[in-house]
C-alpha cells in the first residue's frame, strides 16, 4: 500500500444513514521494525482519533500499534443531512496532531 499525502474523509448520505470513510496519512511504526541499516525504527503511531458531526463527538477510536499503516476505517451515522460537517482529529504517541474536514454529500 502506497503512502497517501494527506488525511481524507468521504461522507455520503444513504437510505440507512450517513456513511463516513476516513483515510489518514500516517506511517504507524510499531517500534519493532528495522530500516535498511538494521536500526530499529522508533514507535510512531496514532493513539486517539475523534470524529465529530456538526461539532458533536460521535465516535472515538483508540489505536494500538496493530492498526495498519495509513489507518482506514469506516462507520455509519444515524440520520444526517446533506451539508453536515464531519471533522476528524487525531493525536499520535509523539504528540503530533492532525485534522481533516468534509461535508456530507
Amino acid at each position: 500500500m502506497g503512502s497517501v499525502s494527506k488525511d481524507r474523509i468521504r461522507a455520503k448520505l444513504k437510505a440507512e444513514g450517513t456513511t463516513v470513510k476516513v483515510l489518514l496519512a500516517h506511517p504507524m511504526h510499531t517500534g519493532r521494525a528495522k530500516n535498511e541499516a538494521e536500526e530499529l525504527i522508533p514507535a510512531e503511531f496514532i493513539q486517539d482519533i475523534r470524529c465529530l458531526r456538526n461539532g458533536q463527538e460521535v465516535l472515538t477510536v483508540k489505536c494500538g500499534t496493530a492498526t495498519a499503516k495509513n489507518p482506514y476505517f469506516s462507520f455509519g451515522l444515524i440520520g444526517g443531512e446533506i451539508g453536515d460537517s464531519i471533522e476528524i482529529t487525531w493525536v499520535d504517541n509523539l504528540g503530533n496532531k492532525g485534522m481533516a474536514e468534509a461535508t456530507v454529500k
Binding site: 510499531t30 519493532r32 465516535l59 492498526t67 444515524i78 504528540g95
Partner: protein
C-alpha cells in the same frame, strides 16, 4: 492560603459560609473547564488506555480494558476478517468488518491473540453511531482474532481464526 483565611475568619460564621460557597464555585468552574475540552491535547493522551494496549496476553488486555476475561460467544456479532474471509496474504493490512443486530452498542474492541500486544483497536460509539465498522489491522502470525462488543452493559464476542502468509508486525 485557604487554610490561613479559614483561621482568620473562623470567628465569623457568615464569612465562613461565604468562603465555603466560593470554594464550591471554583471547583465546579474547574470541572467545567476540564470537561469543555480546553485542556484537550493533554486529555487525549491521558485517556489512551496504556495498560490495555501494552498488555501482552489476551487475558490481561481484556481484564484491563473490560474488567472481565470470560466473555460468552454470541452469534449476534458478525465479524469478518481477511479477504477472502479467514485468510490474509499480507498481515500488515488485514481488512476487518464488524456488524451486529445489537442495540445500544457502547464499545467495540478488536484483539489479535498472537500479536505481541493483542489489543489492536478500540471504538467508543455514541447513540448516533451505527455499524458496520470497517478497518485494517496488522496481524503478526496465524491467530485467533476477537471482536468484543459492549452493548447496554453486557459483553458479546466473536472469534475468527485467520491464516497469515506474511506476518505484519515487524
Amino acid at each position: 492560603m485557604r487554610c490561613l483565611n479559614w483561621k482568620v475568619l473562623a470567628n465569623s460564621i457568615d464569612h465562613n459560609r461565604r468562603l465555603i460557597l466560593k470554594g464550591a464555585v471554583s471547583s465546579t468552574t474547574l470541572a467545567l473547564v476540564v470537561s469543555s475540552g480546553l485542556l484537550a491535547p493533554k486529555r487525549l493522551l491521558a485517556h489512551w488506555p496504556k495498560d490495555a494496549f501494552n498488555a501482552q496476553t489476551l487475558e490481561d488486555a481484556l481484564q484491563v480494558l473490560l474488567g472481565e476475561t470470560e466473555i460468552k460467544s454470541n452469534d449476534k456479532v458478525k465479524f469478518k476478517v481477511g479477504s477472502p474471509p479467514t485468510y490474509a496474504v499480507n498481515g500488515a493490512s488485514v481488512p476487518i468488518e464488524i456488524q451486529s443486530s445489537l442495540t445500544g452498542i457502547e464499545q467495540v474492541s478488536v484483539l489479535v491473540e498472537n500479536n505481541p500486544f493483542p489489543l489492536a483497536m478500540n471504538f467508543e460509539l455514541t447513540s448516533e453511531t451505527q455499524l458496520p465498522l470497517k478497518s485494517f489491522i496488522k496481524i503478526a502470525e496465524d491467530s485467533n482474532v476477537y471482536a468484543v462488543i459492549r452493548a447496554q452493559g453486557k459483553l458479546y464476542s466473536t472469534v475468527r481464526f485467520v491464516e497469515v502468509d506474511i506476518g505484519g508486525c515487524g
